[in-house]
């Protein structure tokens, strides 16, 4: 067989080095080529991760047993010899960039699996990679200052190392730097400065939202094939909004990143919500950031001990609980109470008296008041049970106004009562009492002190907001409430006005643990009507105008751009089959009852749409018994299109 020259560029020799020329025959297999090449370079090193990339055909020559002939390689082929794993800059949902080695030769689906394993995110099938939105290069290029966490030191073989008890991959325990990376991954970020939120790109319409979905990479092809180069930047995001089997114990990173993605979706109005919902999201963010700062991290360097420790702790608590039940009961008998002079006002009553001072006593869940302290032994003028009432603050620090507005239910309706406190301290105590009482808890409840604390910290927030304008928050106690809501509300409300509204929502979540608060945030997000919709602009067959196809975990919806309304819904479980005509780039879907639809995709490749639908169908096939093993083959079957088949 005739020998001919094959030129191969060896990347490791540097970009300026001319290609290495090898004399080969067509029946030489790829492995042999590599062997020859390595011998020729005279470099001794581990070449095991290297492979040949065929530039013209945009494919890897990974089957080393195949001959050049079989691959169809001739003398004109430009081959590159390079590592399959290369550094990639990965933008995480929390906005932080991570540098790590990703596989450029396997399908993106697998690459994501590897990345997720490295980061300790379970269920990688729910995530994928997308090309970031180009940031408008502004005068000052901030990239230089951006902090990049580096994970490139992690050996590729690390996946085989056993995880620690809490599921933390062992490589994160290797060095303080690695621990810092893990902390970044697993701890929620502090609220962003309002300017940062305002500066980010915000989709203004459904069509805008549709554009982002044109950026998803193809899961069945590799990074190289999709033009991703070494050190390029990609985003890692949750793509399929069906979060399977969330287990806070093992899903610390997953939950944290999910929360971050949800938080940004809310802040950037990627998903719409009402004002009330926004306030709740704000309150949850505030609470989460506060708790994650104060609470000892769920995973610190001693993470391995956590399990045991927490188990011991809970045991202790249990035992304590058992042995002290009687003394507790005794304690309960002498329930704490509050006694003080306060001023009361009943707006509904037609009196002109205004605020009147009485001696107040807060006991259990009710307030009673007397003419004076001396008469407090006798019958109160009135006793008000606060259980089930609504409590609202009316505070103005500057004016030293500390008002508690109570809306107290009675058979005849709700009675309005205002209590006026003299100072911050008094207000915090009585307000906390009212809050608890409205939920049927007494002052003896162990959340009383923390309730007082949170009221104080909110008051502090108002103080700093009113005094220091726009200055960066001095201490962590005072968060600018504009950091917690979308820019729309920056315009609508001053931070000072926002504070009481968020505080209002905050009372219902103030007692949640960190994990519960994160879960609650995600749940409320999931309960939004538009949750889980990925939009694509399409043109339906026979229609002359663009419309929007919304792809949800369980259905497709058709949105009329003119009306902005959902015109039609099709559920996957009524779907009989779907086809892609790759030549004319058209999707055709058949539903039960002889319903057929067909459309071409405008803002995204039809492969992306195809993959979305197939992906969701794949997600629905996951079941508990098989949850450990990811059926990759099925995924590709459902999403791959003709290349995969």
């Amino acid at each position: 067989m005739a020998a001919w020259d094959l030129s191969v560029t060896v990347e490791d020799l540097g970009p300026d080095t001319p290609p290495v020329s090898l004399s080969v025959t067509s029946d030489l297999h790829v492995g042999g080529v590599i062997l020859k090449l390595v011998e020729k370079t005279q470099i001794k090193r581990d070449w095991s991760d290297h492979a040949l990339w065929w530039e013209q055909k945009q494919c890897w020559l990974l089957r080393t047993a195949w001959s050049l002939e079989k691959y169809g390689i001739h003398a004109d082929a430009r081959l590159h010899f390079m590592p399959q794993h290369k550094p990639l800059k990965l933008g995480l949902p929390n906005g932080i960039t991570l540098r790590l080695h990703a596989c450029y030769s396997s399908p993106v689906f697998q690459t994501v699996m590897h990345i997720c394993r490295m980061l300790n995110i379970r269920h990688p099938e729910e995530l994928s990679l997308l090309r970031p939105i180009e940031e408008k290069k502004k005068k000052k290029d901030k990239d230089s200052t951006e902090e990049i966490y580096d994970l490139t030191e992690v050996p590729l073989s690390s996946a085989s190392r056993p995880c620690l008890y809490n599921g933390m991959p062992a490589h994160f325990a290797d060095s303080p730097q690695m621990e810092a990376v893990y902390k970044m991954l697993s701890v929620t970020q502090p609220p962003p400065a309002p300017e940062v939120i305002a500066k980010q790109y915000r989709p203004a319409s459904v069509v805008d939202k549709a554009h982002i979905n044109g950026r998803w990479l193809d899961s069945s092809r590799c990074l190289m094939q999709q033009g991703i180069q070494e050190n390029d930047r990609l985003w890692l995001r949750f793509k399929y909004f069906t979060f399977y089997d969330i287990e806070p114990k093992y899903d610390v990173v997953r939950l944290t990143q999910l929360y971050e993605q949800a938080r940004w979706a809310i802040l950037l109005e990627d998903i719409d919500c009402t004002e009330e919902e926004m306030m709740l999201f704000g309150a949850l963010q505030y609470h989460i950031s506060k708790v994650s700062q104060s609470e000892p991290q769920m995973l610190s360097s001693s993470a391995a001990m956590d399990d045991l420790e927490s188990a011991l702790q809970s045991l202790e608590v249990k035992m304590e609980g058992e042995s002290s039940s009687a003394s507790e009961m005794l304690e309960n008998m002498t329930a704490p109470e509050l006694n003080d002079y306060l001023k009361i006002f009943r707006p509904k009553r037609l009196t002109l008296k205004g605020y009147k001072q009485y001696w107040f006593k807060f006991q259990d869940t009710s307030i009673s008041y007397f003419k004076s302290k001396e008469e407090s032994i006798g019958e109160p003028i009135q006793q008000i049970n606060l259980k089930g009432c609504e409590v609202a603050p009316d505070v103005n620090m500057a004016a030293q106004k500390f008002l508690i507005r109570l809306l107290i239910p009675a058979p005849e309706g709700m009675n309005e009562v205002y209590l006026r406190c003299e100072n911050e301290q008094q207000y915090a105590q009585w307000m906390a009492g009212c809050r608890l009482a409205s939920k049927g808890k007494s002052l003896a409840d162990n959340s009383y002190q923390s309730e007082i604390q949170s009221i104080h910290s909110f008051l502090a927030m108002q103080k700093t907001n009113s005094s220091s304008h726009g200055n960066a928050p001095a201490n962590d106690e005072s968060i600018n409430t504009h950091s917690l809501v979308s820019p729309r509300y920056h315009k609508k409300y001053k931070a000072k006005q926002l504070t009481p509204r968020i505080l209002d929502a905050y009372q219902n979540v103030a007692q949640l643990s960190l994990t519960d608060a994160v879960m609650r945030f995600i749940q409320v997000w999931q309960a939004l009507p538009d949750f889980g919709l990925s939009y694509i602009v399409v043109r339906f067959k026979g229609s002359r105008k663009d419309e929007v196809l919304g792809i949800a975990p369980n259905r497709l919806i058709r949105i009329d751009l003119g009306v902005g309304d959902v015109v039609k819904t099709w559920r996957y479980n009524n779907m009989k089959q779907w086809n892609v005509n790759w030549d004319i780039r058209q999707m055709a879907i058949e539903f039960e009852g002889n319903v057929n639809i067909a459309f071409s995709c405008v803002t995204a490749d039809c492969k992306i749409v195809h993959e979305f639908i197939g992906g969701y169908i794949f997600m629905s096939t996951r079941s508990r018994e098989k949850s450990d093993v990811l059926n990759e083959e099925l995924f590709h079957k459902l999403t791959g299109g003709h290349e995969a088949l």
């Binding site: 069906t242 979060f243 969330i246 109005e269 719409d272 919500c273 009402t274 004002e275 009330e276 919902e277 709740l280 058992e322 042995s323 039940s325 009687a326 009961m329 005794l330 008998m333 089930g388 609504e390 239910p409 009675a410 058979p411 005849e412 309706g413 709700m414 729309r488 219902n508 879960m519 995600i522 749940q523 409320v524 999931q526 309960a527 939004l528 009507p529 538009d530 975990p553 369980n554 902005g564 309304d565 819904t569 559920r571 479980n573 009524n574 009852g593």
Partner: protein
Amino acid sequence: MEDIDAMFSDLLGEMDLLTQSLGQETVPPEALPPTNQEVNYSIGFTDLNESLHELEDNDLDALMADLVADLNATEEKLAAEIKGLKTPSPTTSDLPPPPKGLSLHPPSPHPLPASPASSTSSSVSTPASSAASSLPPPPPQNAKPTKEEIEAQMKADKIKLALEKLKEAKVKKLVVKVLMNDGSSKTLMVDERQNVREVLDNLFEKTHCDCNVDWSLCETNPELQLDRTFEDHENLVEPLSAWMRDSENQVLFQERGEKYEVFKNPQNFYLWKKDKRALKDIKDKDKEILIQENFCGTSIIVPDLEGVLHLKEDGKKSWKQRLFQLRASGIYYVPKGKTKSSRDLVCFLQFDNVNVYYGKDFKTKYKAPTDFCFVLKHPQIQKESQYIKYLCCDDARTMNLWVTGIRIAKYGVSLYENYKTAEKKAAVNSVWMNRSTPSSSNPSTPSPTIKAKTPNQANGHAPKPQPTAPDSMDFGNFPPPPSADILPPPPPDPAFPPPPPSLPAKSSSRPVAPQHKLPANFPPPPMAMDNLPPPPLPPPIDDSPEAPPDFLPPPPPAAGFGSLPPPPLSMNSLPPPPHFGGMDQSLPPPPPDPEFLPPPPPEPVFTGAGAPPPPPPPPPPPPAQAAAVPRAPVRPSGSVRKVPPAPPKRTTPSLQVGGGGGGGDFMSELMVAMQKKRGDH
């Protein structure tokens, strides 16, 4: 000795208290002395008296049984909880804890001062004694270990008791009259901790209905023309406490198809926009998928309802149309001239503090456009108020969509859990029904059940671990171990914390219940003594205690224990307590003290009697009051009759409640089923 006497008197006093409280809550069976009611236990219900008066004897008996069982169960539970504590604190003696605990004023105040001698005799008189009778109260006397020990123990026990009492006292109970479908009514006692599901189960047993998932408890408010079904996880007492004194509100027991319709036909709610024809043909598989999607995920999905509803304007008679939207976070409307986009929506209300009600006949009452109205209001609002929101829909379907949607938003996953529980209940029942149908004759008649039970008892008893467990436990805890030799049985009972597991109750309602009940009543005793001194009613208790030691040293310790074996014999033969002897014979029927609480005692007795006999087959005679005591033989017949029917049924429910039937749901249901079946035969 004085100490012991004091203790004993304490015990009796406590019993007294207990029985009194029982009397108050319920209503003494036959001869209802008004006094009881006056004692006013905090009952949120005004028409309690009426409803009680309306009750038939049977009902009262049953109710009484409920009460007793209930109390006992809770007390035992408490005792069990507190067992751990054995701190002998000096304070105890002074502690008038029980008084506080019980809302009763009279008895509590009196400490233990009562003279020892008198105490013993007096103790007998307490009405409570009847209940206690079965118990071997005597422990004190027998026990002659070191005084210090005893003292310490007793003090510790007193503390425990005091604490128990306190806790128990905080538990609010209501006597509730429930209107049945057929216009009749049933009365039952519900305590604060019971949820609607438990009450429903209770009613299932009393009514022999088919237990399907549609059975609901509904609250009506005639003044506002509203009604709503309680959710199964709600506590019943709380909403009822919001009723006003003169309220005409009622609780109904009905089948309400709409209660769980969303789980039977989720497509009608989650796919309501689709055409109805398609929805009709939906496959079961698809229904299941819908439920999975919306109720089994990380977050509960609320149906996306949107539509024009009529809203009654505040304080006016006019109704205004608005475009409303339901979201998980509340109801919103689209303000005039705005788009439907989320950010423009105005919050109409959120669900934290309101319940949703169906409005009845609002067309006439409020000039509503249609009669398909629903209302949102704070549960405590009982009269017309600007804080009530009235909404009107075009048709019944829309109304049900909204009301159900609001319930899903408000209650979330609880709703689905309720449904699953209800479904399970229905399934178990239907299995049973199918089996029993062939043989079934007249299941409802009480008498058959009773007979059936006797045999059961044997069965039921054997398996129960309770007897053994408690015994051993008791001893351990019990300070005065000495007694054990002589009278092992008695002491344990009082101390008895171990609440009878749910199983026993169900299987053989009587057998178990009795033992436990008695003990339960017993422990608290400290107070009553003083009050009672004069009336020397020698309820069996006293006799037995005294007598046994002398004459019958080793009463049948092991199995029968407290309940029957030992006492009867000794009693009869026992001449020592002159009063008693005489009393017994003459007293049987009116045993209790006239002065104090004549009425209450009889009932407790009966119930107790009914229950205790189980273990010993020969129960018939003893059952009545004396079960444990001498009397049993004498008076049996009369009392027995009454007793049997009521106790069985009652006990079951109450026990479940008390026991906090976490454990053997299935078992208990089985037992119930078996009972019924036997009854049928």
